[in-house]
């Protein structure tokens, strides 16, 4: 029974990877076709229509991939009879799910379709690493993870991570386009991308939106640590880096709101803060010591 679900989960995740790949190619084609626009002054409308159609396919594929991945994550949970957050493989597939979910949610409100190329490749790389390197058979949780706080703490952390990384991707795009503009004009394909001000605002808004959730994730972790390990804060490497991420984003918010940092400096600070999160996920889980050793590696 549980083995059937585990296999089903694997198939769903492979399928989602295939669909994300299609989405990636569609996004790539969209970006490539957009290059033609400046020269084709007479058939401008035609070109937009073409890219528009491909772009819609790309987004549709992204949604389909998200749904397949969601089903895969749920099936993984069912196979183990618990939330699918017991080892690094499961953190990774859920993290990829959160990242592409955040993108799709933000896409409803903001002009973000251009970012789909980056999002689909990031999701593919994450899933690929998960399947190839991190895979572990579905198994019950170790005693320390058996707690309601697992659901609360980990879901808050994963969602925060998804949004932080999206903000990071936007800040990176900002820096890239900014350096392009400072050398002259944007190259053809980049012309359809939003203005620098828009990107600047958007990455700030994402961070401001999710910072309270990250704060909550850290606090929920502390409450859980108190009941599992007898202390709510012990400077365990994971805790330390969660704190560093918190401090870095707090500094980012202060720099923007109080001192009025904008643009390049703010984007670099945002990237730095996001990289502390990634470091925590990759380095501390895989090579780090301490009490958060649940990667199963």
């Amino acid at each position: 029974m549980s083995r059937t679900w585990a296999y089903l989960s694997n198939y769903l995740i492979y399928s989602s990877m295939a669909v994300y790949t299609l989405s990636f190619f569609a996004h790539a084609v969209e970006t490539a076709w957009a290059v033609k626009i400046p020269n084709a002054t007479t058939s401008k409308t035609l070109d937009y229509k073409r890219t528009e159609k491909v772009a819609r396919i790309a987004t549709a594929m992204m949604i389909l991939g998200f749904l397949l991945l969601l089903a895969g994550v749920i099936a993984r949970g069912v196979s183990a009879g618990r939330v699918p957050w017991g080892n690094m493989y499961e953190f990774s597939i859920t993290g990829a799910l959160a990242f592409s979910g955040t993108y799709l949610a933000a896409l409803r409100k903001y002009d973000l379709r251009w970012l789909g190329l980056l999002v689909s490749i990031a999701v593919l790389l994450t899933l690929g690493t998960a399947v190839a390197v991190l895979y572990r058979p579905s198994a019950p949780l170790v005693p320390a993870l058996k707690s309601t706080w697992l659901v609360i703490h980990v879901s808050a952390a994963i969602i925060s991570g998804g949004v932080f990384l999206l903000a990071n991707a936007i800040a990176a795009a900002y820096l890239y386009l900014d350096s392009m503009e400072s050398k002259g004009e944007r190259t053809a394909w980049a012309k359809r991308l939003p203005s620098l001000e828009y990107l600047d605002q958007l990455s700030y808004r994402l961070v401001a939106f999710v910072f309270p959730l990250w704060t909550f994730a850290v606090i929920a972790g502390a409450i859980w640590a108190e009941s599992a390990w007898g202390r709510y804060w012990g400077w365990d490497p994971k805790e330390t880096w969660a704190f560093i991420t918190w401090v870095a984003y707090a500094a980012y918010l202060h720099a923007r709101v109080t001192i009025g940092w904008r643009g390049r400096r703010a984007a670099w600070l945002c990237l730095f803060a996001g990289s502390t999160f990634l470091f925590n996920y990759v380095y501390v889980n895989v090579w780090g010591s301490g009490k958060h050793t649940y990667s199963g590696l």
Binding site: P137, P212, W235, D236, T258, I259, V284, S289
Partner: protein, 489 residues
């Protein structure tokens, strides 16, 4: 005139005031905040005494000179080091210096009325105007009231303001951080934290001497230790047969509290500690204690009992030391215990499952001086064999006897041990309260818009607004306001 900048002469008060102003400036606070983040990094890369004392002593052994230098900079105690403390103390002083004046200011501002409507409304944001009908002021008054704006009415105009929760939330957030820090300091002054290893069947009386390690706060009084006695009745560990990972640990204890006469049965699990008053007892680790009897050449018992061994891997291969100082001559055994024995090429005996399915005790016997009287504290898991000679090696199944020159040792069997962590942390509720207030304050400060809306009615109606922070939404709000004023539904 000289182009040099003339610095004002500073007397000592002036200097203090200058330092204070620098310290409480936003820029300094931000730098301190970043510094705090950076200062936290080395503690996650270098082993810390509080978390991994073994790795610290290993570092001292492998590179003593470097380790001594690192120790001089407190790199093995980063979070208690002078420089780390200096950063966060300065940060909090800066924070208090920043937040307290703002709190008073905000307190006054929150009770004051908004400033009068500016003369040139058309210079403000989202200005719109249309011919007046006459009832607009009345409508605006009602709408502002229903939206809970604070309103100043003057010369046919209304000046309305809303969104003080932004600054209130901001201040509460920062005050809550101070509360968290106070909670942590309170715990470190008045709290206690200790650990004790107990074999199944053993009894623990909560007095300082019962602990293997115990740390008090400076202001914790000995007599304040909670009165209780715990007996370890039973410990069950279940493991996954495929992955060998643990699935459940359950500890059954008998607890006596109060006058110590009535006995209650209690269960302690990893995520559910046992609470006795303000003291909590946590199940932290577990392992095996081989039960042995050591006899001398005449057959007299020199040592009998269960000796806790230290787990080395997830299958609980454990190492330890059995010391019989009462034997003549003294004997000691360097041992390793494997719960489920398998021979492996190269590694000798390994354990393939954490449960004791086929236990083995592998011993190396040493005779001579154990060095227990030298005054140098020794690890209970190790033997200093420098002034001893080896008497022999043997692998034992339960019930088997190893006879060496000068005596024998019998492997009677094994019991499990548990490591209990006993904690009294009186400040944690302040810290929790601080954390909750911090989140609520953060939400209020990030998602509240502070804004002003004005309306002036003469021959024409003039409406405009001002967003005092970058959050969007004023335009839509003014659109709604205008619709209300025009009587459109």
């Amino acid at each position: 005139m000289s182009q040099e900048v003339q610095l004002p002469e500073l007397d000592s008060v002036g200097l203090l005031r200058y330092v204070w102003r620098q310290l409480t400036s936003m820029r300094t606070a931000l730098i301190l905040l970043m510094l705090l983040g950076i200062a936290a990094v080395p503690g996650s890369l270098v082993p810390q005494r509080t978390q991994n004392p073994m790795a610290v002593s290993a570092s001292f052994k492998s590179s003593p000179e470097l380790s001594r230098w690192m120790d001089r900079f407190s790199l093995f105690d980063v979070y208690g080091s002078p420089w780390f403390s200096a950063i966060y103390i300065l940060l909090f002083v800066s924070l208090i210096g920043c937040v307290l004046p703002r709190t008073f200011e905000h307190f006054h501002a929150a009770r004051a009325l908004p400033p009068a409507t500016p003369k040139n409304l058309h210079r403000m944001e989202f200005y719109s105007t249309w011919p007046a009908v006459g009832n607009e002021l009345e409508l605006a008054r009602t709408w502002f009231k229903s939206q809970r704006f604070r309103v100043l009415e003057k010369d046919g105009s209304l000046s309305a303001e809303k969104g003080f929760a932004r600054e209130t939330g901001n201040l509460f957030f920062h005050l809550a951080l101070i509360l968290i820090l106070l909670g942590i300091s309170f715990s470190s002054l008045f709290g206690m934290r200790g650990e004790a290893i107990l074999n199944v069947g053993e009894r623990f009386v909560n007095t300082p001497t019962s602990y293997d390690s115990l740390a008090y706060g400076k202001l914790f009084k000995d007599g304040k230790l909670e009165k209780f006695i715990i007996t370890v009745d039973k410990f069950d560990a279940t493991y996954n047969v495929v992955t060998t990972a643990p699935e459940d640990y359950t500890l059954n204890v008998s607890l006596r509290t109060g006058d110590l006469t009535t006995v209650e049965k209690q269960v302690i699990k990893v995520n559910s500690p046992l609470a006795i008053g303000n003291t909590k007892i946590y199940l932290q680790a577990n392992g095996y204690s081989p039960v042995v009897t050591v006899r001398d050449s005449k057959g007299n018992v020199a040592l009998q009992g269960a000796v806790p061994f230290l787990p080395q891997d997830s299958n609980l291969r454990s190492i330890g030391a059995i010391k019989a100082p009462d034997a003549d001559p003294q004997v000691g055994f360097v041992g390793s215990f494997v719960p489920t024995y398998q021979r492996s090429d190269g590694n000798g005996a390994i354990s393939v499952f954490p449960q004791a399915l086929d236990p083995r005790l592998l011993l190396s016997a040493w005779g001579g001086d154990l060095g227990l009287d030298s005054g140098v504290p020794q690890s209970i898991y190790r033997i200093d064999t420098s002034s001893m000679s080896q008497l022999g090696l043997k692998s034992l199944k339960p019930g088997e006897v190893f006879t060496y020159a000068g005596g024998s040792i019998t492997f009677e069997g094994y019991v499990q041990w548990v490591n209990l962590q006993i904690v009294d942390d009186p400040g944690k509720n302040f810290a929790l309260l601080g954390a909750i207030v911090a989140i609520l304050g953060l939400l209020a400060s990030l998602f509240t818009r502070r804004r002003r809306i004005w309306i002036r009615v003469g021959d024409v109606v003039e409406v405009a607004g001002l967003a005092k922070n970058a959050a969007p939404g004023l335009e839509q709000e003014l659109a709604i306001f205008t619709t209300v004023l025009k009587g459109e539904k």
